[in-house]
Amino acid sequence: MTTDTRPVRPRRTTRQPSRLVTNLVLIVGAAATALPFFWMIFSALKPRSEAVAYPPRLLPAEPTLEFVRYLFTTLDFGRYLVNTLVVVAIGFVGLLLMAMAGYAFAKFQFRGRGLLFALVLSTMMIPVQVTMIPTYLILARIGLTNTLVGIALPTLVSAFSIFLFRQFMTTIPDEVLEAARIDGAGEIRIFLSLVLPMSGPILAVQTVLTFIAGWNSFLWPLVIAGDQSRYTLSVGLALLNQQVATNPSLQMAGAAVMVVPILVVFVIFQRYIVQGFTLSGLK
């Protein structure tokens, strides 16, 4: 037996059990983290009597979709869903604006570029509590309170997204753009049919994040939506919050309607989200 192989070999065997412990700890932690989600979904399927029963049982004995139906028939969740999708769609307009700005910062030389980009970055430090009241006053002044556009506008453009677009788009070779210009392509066409297709990964990340942010947004819908016809899912759900003691099944059904689509989007696009944080230069 030679001494130089010794440090590696025996270690392998002693490491096996501790790897098992690592995985066990991780599984228990993940289960505890996900417990509220399982509890939400199972409770959404319980009749009311089971949801308020003590001791509680994890699985519904007589599963029912009664309360999911109730949300969309008796309550107005269908409308809230449409409103939420409209807010999300307006968010995608913002995505286009941010991609355009990122492209200009990355690929053009123009007077005031450094100053404007510094301005963009500095807005990242402004907390929402400071802008909340003034933004409300500004929206009231231009008559956009109680509109879906008013709900989407304050968060339409994020400095961080512009920054990410810029970071990614600097990697597009100048030669490609120059060649297109020499071929006589217009600037808008270059952007739409050359730059955007070459920015696939960053667009994927931003699309997922924009969807999640718009779908989940709560503060602005709460402040801006005055009457029920403008409510989004999150505001409609907040109304259910006021009946905590009365009907947990209905509340969990509402929460599930809000959360399950996000879970699906997340599971499908998970790797892009992780990639997004790697792209941001976090190594």
């Binding site: 509220p36 003590y54 970055l121 989940n216």
Partner: protein, 311 residues
């Protein structure tokens, strides 16, 4: 706490400006729409907040601007004299002091374990840990409110199985702080775990292998090699976590509305209540600017400390 957009972490790659295209008016046209929105909803509000904070603007002033009058620094004087403001400040401070280490240590620990485990299982579990970060706060409030419920809540039932409880999760002031803090920690760790994992992937294997050949145990390697190499990520997560605790709002707003007895009223919640429940826009703007200054000072101090640590 909301998912924070991490600020820029590295200097942007240096590109040769000479190769950039001079497009005349074109770049301005591309930048303008986004800049207009950004100026209208980020830059202009700061200026408006400054002006409004020196007035007695309220809901009637909104309808009829001529009824608003200039009051100088009166709002700031009232703020300093308000015991509720100081209470909210102390509460926020307590949450920050306890919450920051908990979040940083918990997410670092999970990230190290996930990294060590590697493979398919780890990437599946990673998704579980990340889920709370992308869940709507209103849904979080409903589900946790149900879990915490004193009559038929799951948590008290689980505690009773091991002979503990019942715990007054949201009705006792001290427990209420713990309960909203727990939800905040649950929501905040996912994003930080992803950040630490990205950083861990950037560490070359050679360091670890060299130390292993020298006979260092795994715990020693983690403490003396991995964690020090994560210094920048730890610093970044600490700074963003401090900021998000200083802005702590969502969890107490939806779970306790600041109660019981203002035990969970953070400074952000206090400002929101003054502004949108009592419609004192001028007074609330003064409070929000004070919060802004506190956040800016705390962040700059941390950046300075970090700077001196490097030399």
């Amino acid at each position: 706490m909301t998912v924070l957009a991490p600020p820029r972490l590295q200097a942007p790659p240096v590109t040769r400006p000479s190769r950039r295209h001079r497009g005349g008016w074109v770049p301005y046209a591309f930048v303008a729409p986004a800049m207009v929105v950004l100026v209208a909803f980020a830059v202009l509000p700061i200026l408006v907040a400054g002006v409004v904070s020196t007035t007695d603007m309220d809901i009637s002033g909104l309808a009829d601007p001529s009824s608003v009058s200039f009051v100088g620094l009166e709002n700031y004087r009232r703020l300093v004299a308000d015991p509720q403001f100081w209470n909210a400040l102390r509460t926020t401070g307590a949450f920050t002091v306890v919450g920051v280490p908990v979040i940083v240590v918990a997410s670092l620990a999970v990230a190290l374990l996930l990294h060590r485990s590697g493979g398919r299982l780890a990437s599946t579990l990673r998704a579980f840990y990340f889920l709370p970060a992308i869940t709507a706060i209103v849904a979080v409030a409903l589900v946790w409110g149900y879990l915490y419920n004193s009559q038929f809540g799951l948590l008290n039932y689980l505690l009773s199985l091991v002979g503990l409880g019942p715990v007054p999760w949201l009705s006792d002031p001290t427990w209420a702080r713990f309960s909203v803090g727990l939800v905040a920690v649950w929501r905040a760790t996912g994003l930080n775990i992803i950040i630490f994992l990205a950083a861990l992937q950037g560490i070359p294997h050679e360091y670890d292998e060299a130390a292993q050949l020298d006979g260092a145990t795994e715990l020693q390697r983690t403490r003396r090699i991995t964690v020090p190499l994560l210094r920048f990520a730890i610093f970044f997560v600490t700074v963003t976590t401090v900021i998000s605790w200083l802005q702590f709002f969502d969890e107490p707003y939806v779970l306790t509305q600041g109660g019981p007895n203002d035990a969970t009223t953070s400074i952000s919640l206090y400002i929101y209540e003054q502004g949108f429940r009592y419609n004192q826009f001028g007074f609330a703007s003064a409070g929000s600017l004070v919060l802004f200054v506190i956040i800016a000072v705390v962040t700059v101090v941390q950046l300075r400390l970090r700077g001196s640590d490097d030399h």
